[in-house]
């Protein structure tokens, strides 16, 4: 990239040192720190509020509009969720969908990313264009729905959540670009030793690609864990509900908690309607937030690799 660095020379004025800072400069710097602090707070405050609210009594939730530490700790919401079972079933189903779905994603993506990363692959441009077309144009919702439900008969199976999203062209290209950056010499050495393409891929390329595999796995896992629309479209068996569906049902649709008479809500006498919503939100966010710190250093790298075109 060329830097359009055509500064007007006549505007040069002498400054003392390079690090010279005027009071105005310092004020701006302080302001920037304040802005960033506020933005960061805005990102996490809702979560903290929801965690606090999930442990609060229903009375406190109705009376106090906002708090970060509940006055009286109540476990009613979690007890309800434990006994009632929908949320944990949803979590279990989501784990199944996410783990197997991500494995399928990684298998399908890596196995095409490697051939496409080889410059000597005959027909490479054609195959790459085939991928790019899928990014630019789609058949839309209805033909896809017909394919899944009427042609392949995948309705009410998890295959309907795994197969239509088996590969994301974007994520595949991230992996492909990373493979491209691995020095060819390593591969050539293996070929001299009599290795074929498959063995080279498994023994040499994959072990060298841990960072990109980790970050792309995270992208896929997150999108499975969070996916909502496909589950709504294709699954209508309540035993197979994933967590996002349970969450939507509990938060938006029903008054289930209030009507459930099998629970005794103790001295307060109020069913923890709001607290259950909040506790469900907490439980469905928790798994991602637990994995997040471990993969954070990888995914920034992954996004950056993906931004290099190939």
């Amino acid at each position: 990239m060329t830097m359009p660095f055509t500064h007007k020379k006549d505007e040069v004025r002498a400054t003392g040192t390079l690090e010279a800072r005027t009071p105005g400069d310092q004020a701006v710097q302080v302001l920037l720190y304040v802005i960033i602090a506020l933005v960061a707070l805005a990102c996490v405050l809702p979560f903290i509020y929801v965690v606090a609210g999930s442990f609060a009594t229903e009375r406190e939730l109705t009376e106090r509009p906002f708090f970060l530490i509940p006055q009286d700790v109540s476990l009613n919401a979690y007890q309800y969720i434990l006994k009632q079972g929908d949320v944990f079933r949803g979590l279990k189903n989501s784990v199944i969908v996410t783990v197997i779905g991500t494995l399928i994603n990684m298998f399908v993506s890596c196995t095409i990313a490697y051939p496409l990363s080889r410059p000597y692959l005959k027909g490479r441009n054609g195959f790459i264009n085939m991928v790019i077309v899928t990014m630019l144009f789609t058949g839309g919702m209805v033909p896809a729905y017909i394919m899944v439900v009427n042609v392949l008969h995948l309705g009410n199976t998890y295959w309907a959540l795994w197969l239509p999203t088996a590969m994301s062209a974007f994520n595949m290209i991230i992996i492909k670009n990373y493979f491209q950056g691995i020095p060819m010499e390593l591969e050539e050495a293996a070929i001299i030793d009599g290795s074929n393409d498959l063995i080279t891929f498994v023994r040499i390329i994959l072990p060298l690609s841990a960072p990109v595999l980790a970050s792309v796995s995270l992208f896929y896992a997150v999108s499975h864990w969070n996916s909502y629309f496909n589950a709504m479209l294709y699954i209508n068996n309540s035993d197979m509900e994933v967590i996002t569906i349970v969450l939507r049902r509990l938060v938006f649709l029903t008054t289930q908690v209030a009507e459930d008479s099998t629970f005794d809500w103790g001295a307060a006498g109020m069913p923890p309607i709001k607290a259950v919503k909040m506790a469900t939100t907490v439980l469905s966010t928790l798994p991602i937030l637990c994995i997040y710190p471990f993969v954070q250093k990888f995914f920034t790298q992954g996004v950056m690799v993906g931004s290099v075109k190939g």
Binding site: M1, M3, P4, F5, H7, R13, A14, L18, L32, I35, I36, V39, A40, C43, V44, F47, G53, L61, P65, F66, V108, T111, I112, Y114, P115, L116, K122, F127, M130, T134, L136, F137, G139, G140, V142, I146, V151, L163, A166, M167, D197, L198, F201, W225, N226, Y228, T244, L247, F252, K274, K277, M278, T281, S284, T285, I288, Q296, V303, M304, S307
Partner: protein
């Protein structure tokens, strides 16, 4: 005589070339058969879930009915041809301009407000000198990207509900009875959607710009400082040019998405009160097609939408290349 010889020669050449081509394909396959075998799962995937559904777009030009054939495929390809009937129905229908206006107002608002947000945030983060503060802030601002849109919707309801929303409560302190009801006022629907997007994606969106910013040669800054550039001049003449390519790239992608509203999000935030502003092409396809069974109309709508999107990406890419940027492909 001489001519026929020449013709013969050129034919032989062509044959040889063809054979050569054939041979190199065969040779390529013999040499690297594993590479081709490895591609099979993904190729199959793309054919089944991307390319075959594209043929289903034929439904947009027929009077589709599930009873027009014994199997679904017979119905899809055997329904009577209807030409542009469903496109006419879409364009002249009473809903079209409402859908068009709603879709565009949401996505243009996204373009004007949600698109620059990560650039601004990245520029600010880039100015911070305190390392640990910067790193902590980055960790925190990426978090919303990783939570489900269902959770974002749930949080929005918990914050803005007129009965017990924490932020709504603050708003009533400021505006009194006129406090904006974000959840049901149709006028505020684009604000609601764009606000959610800004909250969810701004932090994460900075990664790609920060990456571009970190590759700027420090010497450029030093040289500019010697030339007497102030903070704003540095930003204008050094920092922004350095990320211009990235900005253009992201802009092209966004332009291609102008008719694609995130239907999961809109579907979740839609209710009977804000329907006037929240019916967009995507929800229309869903309600007409999947729940209403009008496959031809829904497919025609989808085709209209993806064609416009594709044209816009291609045009934006062309324009970017005219201005000397590298473009998307």
């Amino acid at each position: 005589m001489a001519q026929t010889a020449a013709v013969k020669q050129s034919k032989a050449n062509a044959r040889a070339q063809k054979q050569l081509g054939h041979n190199t394909w065969r040779k390529a396959f013999m040499q690297h058969y594993w590479l081709y075998i490895m591609m099979l799962p993904a190729l199959l995937y793309m054919i089944i879930f991307n390319y075959l559904p594209m043929t289903g777009l034929y439904m947009a030009f027929t009077d589709f009915s599930p009873f027009n054939g014994d199997t679904i495929l017979e119905s899809v390809f055997g329904s009577p041809f209807a030409g542009l009937k469903y496109f006419k129905k879409l364009f002249t229908g009473p809903d079209f301009w409402t859908l068009f206006r709603n879709t565009l107002s949401i996505s243009l608002a996204n373009l004007f407000f949600a698109f620059p947000a990560p650039i601004i945030l990245a520029l600010i983060l880039n100015e911070l000198r305190c390392k640990w503060f910067k790193r902590t802030a980055q960790t925190l601002v990426y978090i919303p990207h990783f939570v489900s849109i269902v959770i974002v919707a749930a949080l929005t309801f918990q914050m803005f509900s007129t009965t017990d929303g924490a932020i709504y409560h603050v708003l009533t302190q400021i505006f009194g009875a006129n406090a904006p009801d974000l959840l049901s006022d149709p006028k505020l629907f684009p604000t609601l959607i764009v606000g959610q997007n800004i909250w969810k994606e701004t932090g994460y969106g900075t990664i790609i710009y920060l990456a571009a910013l970190s590759s700027v040669d420090v010497q450029l800054y030093e040289a500019a400082k010697i030339d007497g550039a102030g903070r704003w001049q540095l930003m204008w003449h050094v920092t922004l040019p350095a990320i211009r390519g990235t900005i253009v790239l992201m802009l092209i992608m966004k332009v291609g998405q102008l008719l694609n509203t995130s239907y999961e999000q809109i579907f979740l935030m839609q209710n009977s009160m804000n329907r006037a502003a929240s019916d967009v092409f995507d929800t229309y396809v869903y309600t007409k097609g999947i729940t209403g069974g009008q496959y031809s109309l829904a497919t025609a709508t989808g085709l209209f939408k993806s064609t416009i999107s594709m044209l816009m990406v291609v045009t934006a890419n062309k324009i970017a290349k005219l201005f000397g940027e590298s473009g998307l492909y």
